[in-house]
Symmetry: C2
Subunit: 357 residues, 2 copies
């Protein structure tokens, strides 16, 4: 009966199907490494709201900023410079680190944390290049580690994966995805526009990774090859190739995807997966709020579920993995597969040739 089905959807949609520990287990005590706006406005409030986590240490390039943030946050015991953190200061005050620095600074902090035996939650893209990402994988060999793909714990994305796995759209055939925003208003002096800090580029590294990885997660298939065309014309993008990028990714089983990403376009995002029998649309997809639409034949179901705090879900999930002593799904080895795909996309744009991931 449709009423049973609707009831089932309403009851099960937003649930944390991954949870094994109690909601007030822990807390896992975090050192926040890198105190940019994302850490302060998104990650730290999420941790403060979560039952399983707590921020006890904050780490910044600037001693003043570290102290200021430490003073503002009741649970924080120490505000450290990067140097003090790397020297192992206050290492008894945290169990895990959240690394949210420019891409090319991830490795040094992850290596230090792993050396101290701490668990690692590292922002994506995991590093600036494939080589440095391989080093990051090696560094985490003996500690629990996860790359911070917040879409993995977004209920809409998890339900989308369940639907695809259950055959709701038949066999997946092709995929469209976009994530775009404008960072021009943020000024020219941004690490995202500096290849020494950002890596291969900006739009695909920072935004395109959402389409590449979320499609991979929902499809349960890895990227195989890529083609790409990029363009930079605005002054701000003089050092990076991808003010805007259009690229295709072939996934396993020859599921073909067409993506775009731009750091200088109207804010928006979507992920559409077309199967042999139906179509699944997540829109908006990657900027916080998510809505899911499933069409099969003439019937469309749209599910407008409560917006979750994606960072809280992510921290809770990572803490749950630590508390239940299991491996997170997005290991560094998982992230490395994306890094190879991103590298292939940039290489294809430069050479004009299809590149294996």
């Amino acid at each position: 009966m449709v009423s049973d089905g609707i009831r089932e959807v309403l009851d099960s949609f937003p649930h944390r199907d991954w949870a094994e520990s109690e909601e007030d287990a822990g807390p896992i005590r975090f050192a926040m490494v890198g105190l940019g706006w994302w850490t302060r406005d998104q990650a730290m409030p999420a941790v403060a709201d979560s039952g399983r986590c707590e921020t006890t240490v904050v780490v910044s390039g600037s001693a003043e900023k570290a102290e200021e943030v430490a003073d503002d946050e009741e649970t924080v015991e120490a505000g450290l410079t990067y140097e003090a953190f790397q020297d192992g200061e206050a290492r008894d005050a945290y169990d895990a680190v959240y690394v949210c620095t420019p891409n090319a600074r991830h490795l040094e902090h992850v290596e230090a944390a792993a050396e101290f035996g701490k668990a690692v939650l590292c922002e994506k893209p995991m590093e600036a290049t494939v080589e440095r990402s391989e080093d990051l994988v090696d560094a985490c060999e003996d500690v629990p580690a996860m790359i911070a793909y917040r879409m993995h714990t977004e209920p809409v994305v998890r339900r989308a994966r369940e639907l695809v796995r259950a055959g709701a759209i038949g066999e997946p055939v092709h995929v469209h995805g976009d994530m775009s925003q404008s960072i021009v208003g943020w000024g020219a002096d941004q690490w995202r526009l500096d290849p020494d800090l950002a890596g291969y580029g900006t739009s695909v590294m920072d935004l395109g990774i959402y389409s590449v990885n979320t499609a991979r997660f929902v499809l349960d298939r890895d990227p195989v090859s890529a083609t790409a065309t990029m363009r930079s014309s605005h002054d701000y993008f003089a050092e990076v190739p991808d003010e805007v990028a259009a690229f295709t990714v072939a996934y396993e089983d020859a599921i073909l995807a067409s993506f775009t990403a731009s750091q200088n376009a109207d804010l928006g995002s979507f992920l559409r997966i077309v199967g042999s029998e139906g179509t699944l649309l997540i829109e908006p997809a990657f900027h916080g709020e998510c809505t899911l639409e499933l069409s099969v034949g003439e019937t469309t179901v749209e599910i407008d579920s409560p917006e979750v705090d994606q960072m809280e879900e992510e921290f809770e999930y990572f803490a749950d993995c630590l508390l239940a002593d299991r491996e997170p799904e997005a290991t560094p080895a998982h992230g490395l597969v994306d890094m190879r795909a991103l590298a292939a996309i940039y290489e294809s744009a430069e050479t004009g040739e299809r590149v294996e991931c």
Copy 2:
């Protein structure tokens, strides 16, 4: 005032901004060449409803079919075989031809019609290959001729072009488009699956052309280069490379597009144009009904206008061009630009290299 703006939208949205002749001018008398389901179920009813056109001759490979259709339609004076048509039979009974045969049969009928001095409306893709399309351009040098891009006279698409031209989304940055359907239910014996009749392939030739050309029309920019990946695995698609295709097209001014097309997927289509300040979405786009959505900042306007008979609009437009003695926008030379883009897409899929259009 918003009320004035809304009134203006409501009043102007569905209008035929191209019309120069009276609605009951003419009629232009058409010979329908090729009597497949599209001609009989779509084109002929549209012509019967139109004020400026009339079907007076029908032409088929089968004498029986030609006679049967001729008998069914009051206005039809003659039912001809292809041979009789090419011999010039009943040539005084029509002013123009509508060619809707398999792609690789367009040229011979267009050449015959042009030789008799008749105006030519030829279905898209205009022929099977670039070379044959060039011959078709040459054949039409001295007669009025148009390639049948029905999206050009769809009011939603024309209004989208006006909005882009007026800067409603700022500078266009990137584009997504898809057209997919399943032709597997139609049986294995289809000319669309036979490269001798279809040309380079099936999904991009038959469906992808909608995204490529409509984006081109709305953007007022031509394709410059393409990258592509294709796959055929179902038995039916053994002779063509593109059961499904994902491809990028760079347009002039480096506007980058990501497209897909599949003849073996869930029915659907959309065209999304993202600019520096807003986003324009046509969805559904290419299967008859069209809806337009324009988002700028936090405000979205959705315009759900009456579904027009796209074939009637197209025939009326072509007849209007003939009656007003002006050149249609989609000349054979216009169509040839698309054929070069399609050829580039297929070549890129085969070689793995970015190909100039």
